[in-house]
């Protein structure tokens, strides 16, 4: 039996008219909920009409066969071009067979009306079977609604079967739902902040809203063994979600009507239109596309947060890995915070009146990768106005911030702080880029999220198995001040929030203000600003010939020091990786690495390019401005030092060295000792003499100090500035303040010949055995006579051990080599030492080089 043509055309007319009216109503009101409800009713009526005409004219007929709305249709959410989810429900297979033809005819009629049916056919018994590979079907039953046919059959499904099914299968259902959600989130980079998000699928979208409701419903049904009377979602959460739902529904209806199909992507063009029409935000003033997207992100954040919170609260929804973590997470509780089921609670409700507790809270999050409980988030929101009135600032804030940035889950903590609007209270500079969409073909994320992803990509290096990531991870582990790199990443694109112009310059200005407010010390400030100012430099250089020495030299000269080169390399890596997940191809990673090695080698081989005191160097200009009266004294002091000396030391340090040099008449050995974050730093300023460097290294070895880095430079006047960075193996200086002076006096006495270094070293050698090397390092000695016109470069790679530097430098001095420059570094158990040598003021001859090599190999073998 098919429909009478007159009825068919009548239906078509009604459908067309009603659909057009629906669209007009939406255009006028912008009310997505109403549009969706109206469309649901329209399609329902059509289906009932068709059912009556084709299948059964009886009110609840035929027996043992029912039409059930499921999924979005069951929820009453039929978007203009969504599929229509229905279930043809049978009592048994015989019924299914009997109604096959009429179902086909019904589908055809709907097809002619251009209605896309997404139909499932099941017997009641089949509905009761849970398939872990098809959790979607079982989930769709949670929204089932009677449309037509045997009502009793439907009641058996709804009132009896489904509650029992849920009770029985709640655990695998929750696990399956959570797993599918995690996969979907992973596909979208686990972030809400896409430049062109998909309203349905992106984290924070409509799918997440549904997941939140399903999670709550399944948990409630599991406990009640029945359908709950009211909404399963808690009232405060529901309120937040309802306003998000209004917005998302309006936006999705807008997209469907605009595109004429089920297309849920918020492209840039649609964002422009949505802003002009104020979709979902009718009461707002005029909106730009960026403003409108900020509203979207605010709602998406709320949805994602609620859903994540629910996933955290329901143990069955945890991933297997997460489950393993939960047992030891319980032991993480502190006097300030307790950890329950992986969520952070405050031990004292009023603790957040102290801003330091708040800062410690996020440090705790960053360290352990935990989420905040809803209660804690609520308390933070309560505490925020008071905090905003007198926000923490200065060195104390910087101390907490840097410690947080260094933790493995820093990005998650930053995101949490940002979503609670705390980050912009502490760093108002970040307001400019809050949820900022910058239209760019390559970037996938908003500007703020891009920075968080960049920071996260560096922290994730350690766990990565990829060969390239491991190389970069090694580089990261060598950094002296990685927190500066993370801070640079956080601030590097803030300039994109300033309209027009060059975003790099704008970022520099903004970062400068931020660094001032954090009271960051001048040396660190210079490094952060250098990184921000040059964050595109490496990418720009990659577009040139990176195997051309000139290209490498230009780039390396701009960078200046190996430490900055490492940081810039890692910043480039992270910046590209955070553009979009495919941006950093192995090809690109290899190119960056090639440029890095080239530049690193160049820096080592060009260390002895000398400064001229009246040169137009930026550092020199700053020095002259710092102390204008020093005039010619500064010029004479600086004359002849290598460029590397200027680059490695801040202007303030160079001024200090100048002061020390001017005291040499009174005290021929000037020393400065201070404790840095990782090492002690000893600076010696003295007049050059044979064995000076070796002697200094020897005294430190005799005191049991382990030299990890050192730089030795001399100027034209023969004044040396040697800086040695060392660790105090026996904690002599740390535990005994009085030893500081004794240590310095000991160095002076040895330098002036008043103490016997050899005896000190013999005593030290008697005092204990060396630790066995875990990693064997082969000794390598290489000369490069071409890289410098004035000296011969010697590179020594050897097993690090106590007294190594003393032995190498003594050996060189015995071989009548003058150490013009020494660049000493250690990587794990490998000592990497570079010396620029002269002999009688010229480069070493080939014969001399051979002698030196033999002497060094003899010295370094054995032990």
């Amino acid at each position: 039996m098919s429909m009478a043509p007159s009825l068919s055309s009548e239906l078509r007319e009604v459908y067309a008219e009603e659909s057009a009216r629906l669209q007009r109503d939406f255009t006028a009101s912008g009310d997505g909920r109403a549009a969706v409800a109206q469309r649901t009713r329209l399609v329902e009526n059509i289906l009932k009409w068709l059912w009556q005409d084709l299948i059964s004219p009886e009110e609840h007929g035929p027996r043992n066969f029912a039409l059930v709305a499921t999924g979005g249709f069951g929820r009453g959410w039929l978007f203009p071009y969504s599929d229509i989810d229905v279930l043809f429900l049978y009592a048994d297979h015989a019924g299914e067979e009997a109604h096959k033809d009429v179902i086909r005819r019904l589908s055809r009629e709907l097809w002619d009306l251009k209605l896309k049916l997404s139909a499932a056919s099941r017997t009641l018994a089949e509905c009761d079977r849970f398939d872990a590979r098809n959790t979607e079907f079982t989930i769709s039953l949670l929204d089932c609604r009677y449309l037509a046919g045997d009502r009793d059959l439907f009641v058996r499904l709804h009132d009896k079967l489904i509650p029992k099914l849920i009770m029985r299968e709640s655990k695998p259902l929750l696990q399956g739902l959570a797993e599918v959600t995690r996969e979907r989130h992973n596909k979208f980079g686990d972030t809400v902040f896409h430049l062109e998000p998909n309203l349905k699928e992106t984290p924070g979208g409509l799918r997440d809203y549904n997941v939140a409701c399903w999670l709550a419903l399944i948990s409630a049904m599991d406990k009640l063994h029945d359908w709950p009377d009211a909404s399963a979602v808690r009232a405060p959460v529901r309120k937040q979600l309802e306003s998000a739902l209004d917005f998302l529904m309006a936006a999705r209806c807008f997209l469907h009507f605009r595109n004429g199909r089920d297309d849920n992507s918020l492209s840039w063009e649609t964002q422009d239109e949505a802003a002009v029409r104020k979709i979902g935000a009718h009461e707002s003033p005029e909106l730009t596309a960026a403003d409108w997207m900020r509203i979207y992100f605010g709602h998406a954040r709320a949805v994602q947060r609620s859903m994540s919170q629910l996933m955290e609260e329901i143990p069955e929804a945890w991933s297997t890995l997460y489950r393993q973590f939960q047992s030891w997470r319980l032991r993480l509780s502190t006097p300030d915070f307790s950890v329950v089921d992986g969520l952070i609670f405050l031990q004292q409700a009023s603790a957040l009146q102290d801003p330091e507790v708040l800062l410690r809270l996020f440090h705790f999050m960053a360290l352990h990768g935990l989420k905040l409980s809803t209660t804690t988030e609520y308390r933070i929101e309560q505490a925020l106005p008071a905090l905003a009135a007198t926000p923490p600032r200065g060195a104390e804030l910087w101390l907490y911030l840097q410690e947080t940035l260094l933790q493995p889950h820093a990005a998650e903590a930053l995101r949490a702080m940002h979503s609670l609007h705390l980050l912009t209270v502490l760093l108002p500079e970040l307001r400019l880029t809050d949820s900022l969409v910058v239209r760019d073909f390559y970037h996938r994320f908003t500007v703020d999220e891009h920075s968080f992803v960049a920071i996260e990509s560096l922290h994730r290096l350690r766990q990565s198995q990829s060969e390239w990531d491991q190389r970069y991870a090694e580089l990261l582990s060598e950094l002296e001040d990685p927190e500066l790199l993370y801070l640079a990443l956080l601030l590097h694109d803030t300039g994109k929030g300033v309209p027009g112009g060059n975003h790099v310059e704008a970022s520099l200005e903004i970062a400068g203000r931020c660094l001032d407010r954090l009271d960051v010390d001048p040396g660190e400030r210079a490094t952060v600003l250098f990184l921000i100012g040059n964050h595109l430099e490496m990418s720009a250089t990659l577009r040139r010939d990176i195997f051309n020495p000139e290209t490498v030299a230009t780039f390396a000269d701009k960078v200046g020091t190996p430490e900055r080169l490492k940081m810039l390399c890692l910043l480039t890596y992270a910046d590209i990786k955070a553009v979009n997940p495919e941006a950093l191809t192995p090809w690109k990673a290899e190119n960056i690495w090639q440029l890095y090695i080239g530049a690193a080698n160049y820096l080592n081989r060009s260390a002895d390019q000398r400064v001229h005191g009246d040169a137009g160097d930026e550092k020199l200009a700053r020095l002259r401005s710092l102390a204008p009266v020093t005039g010619y004294r500064l010029k004479d002091f600086v004359e002849g030092f290598p460029q590397r000396y200027l680059r490695m030391h801040s202007a303030e340090e160079i001024m200090r060295h100048l002061e020390m040099a001017e005291e040499l008449g009174k005290e021929p050995v000037q020393l400065d000792l201070k404790r840095g974050r990782h090492w002690y730093e000893l600076t010696l300023v003295a007049t050059d003499r044979p064995f000076l460097f070796a002697t200094l290294a020897g005294v430190l070895a005799a005191w049991g100090m382990n030299i990890v880095k050192a730089n030795a430079f001399s100027n034209e006047a023969g004044t040396v500035v040697d800086t040695l960075y060392f660790t105090d193996r026996f904690r002599t200086l740390e535990l005994n303040l009085s030893e500081w002076e004794r240590f310095k006096r000991s160095i002076t006495d040895v330098m002036l010949g008043k103490a016997d270094l050899d005896r000190m070293l013999r005593d030290r050698q008697r005092s204990g055995k060396n630790a066995v090397a875990k990693v064997k390092v082969q000794t390598r000695i290489e000369f490069d006579d071409a890289c410098s016109s004035a000296s011969t470069l010697l590179e020594v790679i050897a097993q690090d051990r106590p007294r190594l530097l003393h032995r190498i430098s003594s050996c060189l001095s015995h071989q009548e080599c003058n150490i013009e420059i020494a660049l000493i570094d250690t990587e794990g158990q490998m000592a990497i030492d570079a010396f620029y040598l002269t002999s009688k003021a010229t480069k070493l001859t080939a014969e001399h080089r051979k002698q030196v090599e033999k002497a060094l190999l003899d010295e370094l073998k054995g032990e």
Binding site: R544, K588, N591, I797, M830
Partner: protein, 112 residues
């Protein structure tokens, strides 16, 4: 129709692209590749370790053209990609049996 495949230095990509566009070439495919010819590659030393660069990163540009445009395109590439040093790259030409536009099934030169 002829397929023109050019393996060039990465630093020459922008110049080659512009030259091809000026020569009237409207579509192209750019692929990141690695390889070597006589340039062979080299070993870099860094902090005591050897890093072999035997497959050097290059860029491949592919265009399919009517035969009448091939010479012009080849000259555009030659003029902009050449430095005169080993490592400049190579151009390969091959015959294409057919081309089909996916959107509307246009065939032959009309699909280019």
């Amino acid at each position: 129709m002829t397929k023109v495949e050019a393996i060039i230095q990465n630093s020459k990509l922008e110049a080659v692209k512009s030259a091809l566009q000026e020569a009237g070439v409207e579509g192209m495919t750019v692929i990141e590749v690695r390889g070597h010819g006589r340039q062979k590659g080299h070993t870099e030393f860094y902090r005591g370790r050897e890093y072999s660069v035997d497959l050097i990163p290059k860029t491949k540009v592919e265009v399919v053209l009517p035969d009448s445009m091939v010479e012009k395109a080849v000259h555009a590439i030659l003029n902009t990609a050449r430095t005169g040093k080993i490592g400049d790259g190579k151009i390969f030409l091959s015959k294409v049996d057919d081309a089909i536009r996916i959107r509307n099934e246009d065939r032959g030169e009309g699909a280019l």
